[in-house]
């Protein structure tokens, strides 16, 4: 794809955002307001800015990444604004900030490239673990943890009268991927040796399983202390898949699967919040007014949509708890139809395919693992929340990349795109 085509598609996505927001305000009886222009301008500025940054500081990068991402962001921005105009306006600032940070990352890496990241891997690990633990700080502190919707994932920064909440775990994911890519690129040989055998299964030295056990421990810690099933699952699957990709040893998949299954069964019986999620998944209507309410409302919304949706403003997506965040995918489908939902899935599939393409062609093992890790993060997160809201999997509270309302998520995922672009650029370096 040429640069011109990519720029055109970004422009079209921005136009869709502006048009959609215009329709929302018009059908609400407010006429076409400045919001339509603002939605267009924000989308256009954010992605054109990133487009220009990539052209200047990562000129050899693939031209396939930004168009699908901007389409997802545009469609979701319309629906977030439709559910709550205030959130929609805030989301615009987050998008601009996310693009700015992504551009800054590209700028900082422009001379010395990704090699820089490799050097500071233990620093990244420490920061990542610190960020994961940050929400556990007492709520009274100026930078204190906060429990929102039953999960302690949030940190609230008190700035006098105002406070700013964010989820440090989102950023920790990226840092962990960088650390793992770097660590596995150096140690994969040892991890891939399988001197022992147990039946058909070849086993590494027991001490080589240590990293996986640590990963399992971190996941469990997130689950127990932060009560965040989604992040816990995401972290563990990410560790496991990266280990498998680095070593090409199915043993790790098997061992990881056993650990995950055991952990899941144990968690479902030990923790009420996990058991509740599972029963809401299997029998959402059994406890309609309680634990099954969100899943049931989501299913009602899906059944109301049809192929082309009820039309913007005609549905009732606000009936679903967390419609603008966890349930944004269902809200989009209710009003813009199954067709739009499938288009979004196609866009995600495109980003994931391009991500793996970058990983396969990357210049060295570190860069390849980095791209693979970033793409796996994106894919697993998308699958967990999409599968959850359509009742394919138990619902885990996790954001839909580029779509859900939320600053931490948007900032992190825009940075992820910048890093993927940089790996792509360094293919021929």
């Amino acid at each position: 794809m040429t640069e011109r085509a990519e720029a055109t598609l970004i422009g079209i996505a921005a136009a869709i955002a502006g048009l959609g927001v215009g329709i929302v305000t018009y059908t609400a009886g407010d006429g076409i307001t400045i919001d339509a222009l603002a939605a267009f301008a924000t989308q256009f500025a954010a992605f054109t800015g990133l487009f220009i940054a990539i052209r200047r500081w990562a000129p050899s990068a693939t031209r396939l990444l930004l168009a699908p991402v901007s389409l997802i962001a545009a469609i979701a921005a319309i629906e977030v604004f439709r559910i709550d105009p205030d959130l929609g306006r805030l989301q615009r600032w987050w998008l601009l900030l996310g693009a700015a940070i992504a551009m800054a990352v590209l700028f900082l890496l422009r001379h010395r490239g990704l090699e820089v990241l490799r050097r500071f891997r233990y620093l990244f690990l420490a920061v990542a673990l610190g960020l994961l633990l940050l929400p556990l700080t007492p709520s009274g502190w100026p930078l204190g943890g906060a429990t929102i919707n039953g999960s302690r994932l949030w940190v609230r920064l008190q700035l006098g009268e105002r406070s700013l909440s964010f989820q440090p775990g989102e950023a920790a994911k990226l840092l962990l991927v960088v650390f793992l890519a770097s660590y596995l690129a150096d140690t994969w040989r040892g991890l891939a040796e399988m001197p022992r055998s147990f039946g058909p299964l070849r086993l590494p030295e027991p001490r080589q399983l240590l990293p996986m056990l640590i990963a399992f421990g971190v996941s469990l810690m997130v689950l127990v202390y932060q009560r965040d099933l989604g992040a816990s699952l995401l972290l563990f699957v990410l560790f496991m898949l990266m280990l498998f990709v680095a070593t090409a040893r199915p043993t790790y998949l098997v061992a990881g699967g056993v650990l995950a299954a055991g952990g899941a069964l144990g968690a479902a019986s030990a923790f009420d919040h996990v058991a509740m999620r599972v029963s809401a998944w299997l029998h959402p209507f059994a406890d309609f007014t309680g634990s099954g309410y969100q899943v049931s409302q989501g299913l009602f919304a899906l059944s109301a949509s049809g192929v082309f949706g009820t039309g913007l403003g005609n549905g009732a997506p606000y009936l679903i708890p967390a419609a603008a965040t966890d349930y944004i995918f269902v809200a989009v489908i209710e009003e813009m139809g199954l067709a739009t939902g499938l288009a979004m899935l196609a866009a995600y599939a495109l980003v994931i395919a391009v991500g793996f393409g970058i990983a396969l062609r990357a210049a060295d093992r570190f860069r390849s693992l980095l791209a693979a890790g970033l793409t796996i993060t994106l894919a697993v997160q998308t699958l967990l929340i999409v599968g959850g809201v359509i009742r394919l999997l138990p619902l885990t509270g996790i954001t839909l990349p580029f779509a859900s309302y939320g600053g931490s998520s948007l900032l992190t995922n825009m940075t992820l795109v910048a890093l993927l672009a940089r790996v792509s650029h360094e293919e021929r370096a």
Binding site: L241, L299, A316, I333, A349, L369, A379, G387, R391
Partner: protein, 466 residues
């Protein structure tokens, strides 16, 4: 490393693809279940005035349609009040209630309807086609006039209802605009469906059942009886004939004669002689004490059990002439007449023939179905011949239609506000195409009041049918 990356990439992409399939499946399969869930408040919020199809008679008269200004309207006013009913803020009744969902657009937004639409199916709101013929219905309405009562006409061959009228009737348009409150106590007279929901003693029309029981017991139309002026059942008051004297001049009369002149003395005695088991058995064969499916609600016609009547001979004697605790609806009496016109077999009555899409394609059609055998085949010809004599020479003469062989039976049942006039008929006898039951409450003698109404309905049908 790369050989491990490919399967991971393929697996993750396959899972995205599977999510897409799963999501599509939710829409295709479960859409309507979720939509119909009472806890789904989205349904309650949906606009109530979605477009609906028309209700059309067999001869193409639109009797219910959407009002362009919103709501429903009924071009024929009160003529179909009790069968088509109304759809108003006061609620829904009749076919408007029972076929409410069928008349809505089939485009529910699901993938299935989308594909059907692509394949060229017309998913617009379907029409409901009635079996009622407006010309016959008009005749029934006009013949009843201001009298209180009901007319039911049925095609004996299929069970299709040709006319269904109850008087007095309200105008459903008045319910829609709120000027008539069907819930009001003063509205009961107009609201009650006298065709299927009102139970009155059938009087002498019940003698058809007793005659059937007699023929089954081995008597013949020519069996003779004493022509007495009264019959005093053991332990009860004497039963007299309608005129007070004997039935015909002479010392004896045949069973046919007794039916022709509706001889109370003969039939009350006959009921006692045949026994409670035979009389109740014949009545229950004719669907007394049984329910049947009907578009709107239908009361169950009834008489006491054989054991109860066997223990109370005076009651059995009075039951033999359709009095005391015998109760019937005009709808069942029409079905009984229809069964006689169909070799004794009653067809299940129905009033909706088809649900038809706007492009003319029938989405759903009612297949005529057998309800059950009411009379043994062996007695049907004798009964019809006897009933034809009733119309030719007897009490049913006003029910005759010139040039047509009509078989019928009159009834004049005791009522608080004067006798209830009944007439049941089936015509033409050689190949019956219509059966009618007429009830005029407190109207007088069945022969002079009810029979002429039936004759007009039969004539209207035969004019339409030819």
């Amino acid at each position: 490393m790369k050989q491990a990356m490919r399967p991971v990439a393929i697996a993750l992409l396959a899972l995205i693809g599977f999510s897409a399939v799963w999501l599509t499946g939710i829409q295709a399969n479960a859409g309507s279940d979720y939509r119909d869930d009472p806890r789904n408040v989205r349904v309650a919020r949906a606009p109530a005035d979605t477009a609906r199809g028309n209700i059309v008679t067999a001869d193409g008269v639109v009797v219910a349609e959407d009002d362009p200004d919103g709501g429903r309207r009924y071009p024929e006013g009160s003529r179909y009040a009790h069968i088509v009913g109304y759809d108003a803020s006061a609620g829904r009744t009749g076919v408007e209630l029972t076929r409410y969902a069928a008349m809505q657009t089939r485009d529910d937004g699901s993938i299935t309807s989308w594909i059907l639409g692509l394949l060229g199916a017309d998913l617009g709101p379907p029409d409901v086609h009635l079996t009622i013929v407006d010309e016959v219905q008009q005749a029934a309405e006009a013949a009843l006039g201001s009298k209180t009562g009901a007319v039911v006409a049925i095609d004996p061959r299929t069970g299709a209802v040709l006319a269904y009228s109850s008087s007095p009737a309200f105008d459903p348009n008045d319910v829609v605009d709120g000027s008539f409150d069907p819930e009001d106590e003063g509205s009961v007279d107009e609201v009650i469906d006298r065709a299927a929901d009102r139970l009155l003693p059938p009087g002498s029309t019940f003698k058809v059942i007793v005659t059937a029981a007699a023929l089954e017991a081995g008597l013949t139309p020519d069996t003779t009886f004493d022509d007495a002026t009264e019959y005093a059942p053991p332990g009860g008051v004497a039963i007299h004939n309608a005129g007070g004297g004997d039935c015909i001049t002479g010392s004896t009369l045949t069973l046919t004669d007794a039916l022709v002149v509706s001889c109370n003395v003969v039939f009350s005695r006959l009921a006692v002689d045949l026994g409670a088991g035979a009389v109740v058995g014949a009545a229950e064969d004719a669907w007394f004490n049984h329910r049947f499916a009907w578009e709107t609600s239908a009361a169950e016609s009834s008489l006491p059990s054989a054991a109860d009547l066997a223990a109370d001979i005076p009651a059995l004697a009075q039951s033999g002439i359709g009095e005391r605790d015998v109760r019937a609806t005009p709808l069942l009496m029409a079905m009984i007449a229809a069964a006689l016109g169909n070799d004794g077999v009653a067809m299940a009555p129905y009033v909706v023939s088809d649900i038809v899409a706007p492009d003319g394609e029938a989405i759903e059609s009612t297949e005529p179905a057998v309800l059950g055998r009411m009379f043994p085949s062996a007695v049907v010809d004798d009964l019809l011949a006897m009933m034809e004599a009733v119309v030719d020479q007897g009490t049913g003469r006003p029910g005759g239609v010139s040039g047509v062989r009509v078989a019928g039976k009159t009834g004049t049942a005791e009522g608080a506000g004067g006798p209830h006039a009944w007439f049941i008929a089936v015509a033409p006898v050689e190949d019956p195409t219509i059966a009618v039951a007429v009830l005029v409450e407190g109207g007088g003698a069945g022969g002079s009041v009810a029979a002429p109404i039936a004759a007009r309905v039969i004539a209207a049908w035969l004019a339409f049918d030819s």
